[in-house]
Point group: C2
DNA sequence: TCTTGACCTTCCAGTGGCTGGAACCCTTAG
DNA sequence: CTAAGGGTTCCAGCCACTGGAAGGTCAAGA
């Protein structure tokens, strides 16, 4: 399988696949003209990484998950730990974003949004007032 | 005022302040030994940017907000538009993160997390099953 | 006077995870 | 023969900083 087909079937762009090879996720063979040849297992690996990335795992976490996946002896507790830690981080981000959104929607509500120059949003940015923080 | 004091009073690291000068946010004067000298207005500007950044506005948005802030003729509607657009983006991110979290917590619940190798989390990453998507 | 240490300066490189582009090679169809 | 559509490498850029090296400046203390 050439890189184009793998890209299509895995949903991961060719550029990214080459990058993943660079950082050691894959080691596709080459044929005599230098083209990468992918096996089904490599496609499978890529799909795995793609799903993990879409769940927000970073590259190093993907590496760890992949290693655990390929280690048939591992228990599931290691995986669970990684996932739980990741959920914590996601929840922290969600909390941050919600705080931002709430502050902003508050300010937006207070802002007339017309031709007049008074603007609680700018006032808040300027002097930190108009919104408890 | 030297950069160190500005950093302390604004809560923005010196490195970042120099970077902000690089990208044209500030134009502090220099004294004869080459040190930057900051006025109160520059400190104020930095604090403004810091607050905008902490609300998740990116650099270009900060630039726009600053320009609007310094334009005494502007109406508040431009500011409101920027802020509303920004809230939309934040909400999209929140939705993404919540979807991730929900998928993950689902998988975590299903994962025994013990010495046994069965792991719904890895199964899902591997074959996309075990969780509606 | 000398030294120490805390400042300050510039410049270069790295972060994460790609992504775009240039310049080139290979294969197949018309 | 040519053109299109693969493939290859390598280098640069994105965002918003951040770290570090190498050096200049200044005030206080021995």
């Amino acid at each position: 399988m050439n890189i184009g087909e793998v890209a299509e079937r895995s949903g991961i762009p060719t550029k990214t696949i080459r990058y993943y090879e660079d950082i050691g996720f894959l080691h596709p063979k080459r044929n005599e003209n230098g083209y990468r040849i992918f096996e089904e297992t490599e496609l499978h690996k890529l799909t795995f990484i793609g799903r993990a990335r879409s769940l927000g795992f970073n590259i190093e976490e993907c590496r760890a998950l992949l290693a655990l996946y390929e280690d048939k002896e591992r228990g599931s507790s290691d995986v669970k730990k990684i996932a739980q830690q990741h959920v914590k981080e996601i929840e922290a981000k969600i909390a941050d974003l919600i705080a931002m959104r709430d502050t902003l929607t508050h300010l937006i509500t207070a802002c007339a949004g017309d031709h007049r120059p008074d603007c609680p949003i700018l006032d808040n940015l300027s002097n930190g007032k108009g919104e408890p923080r």
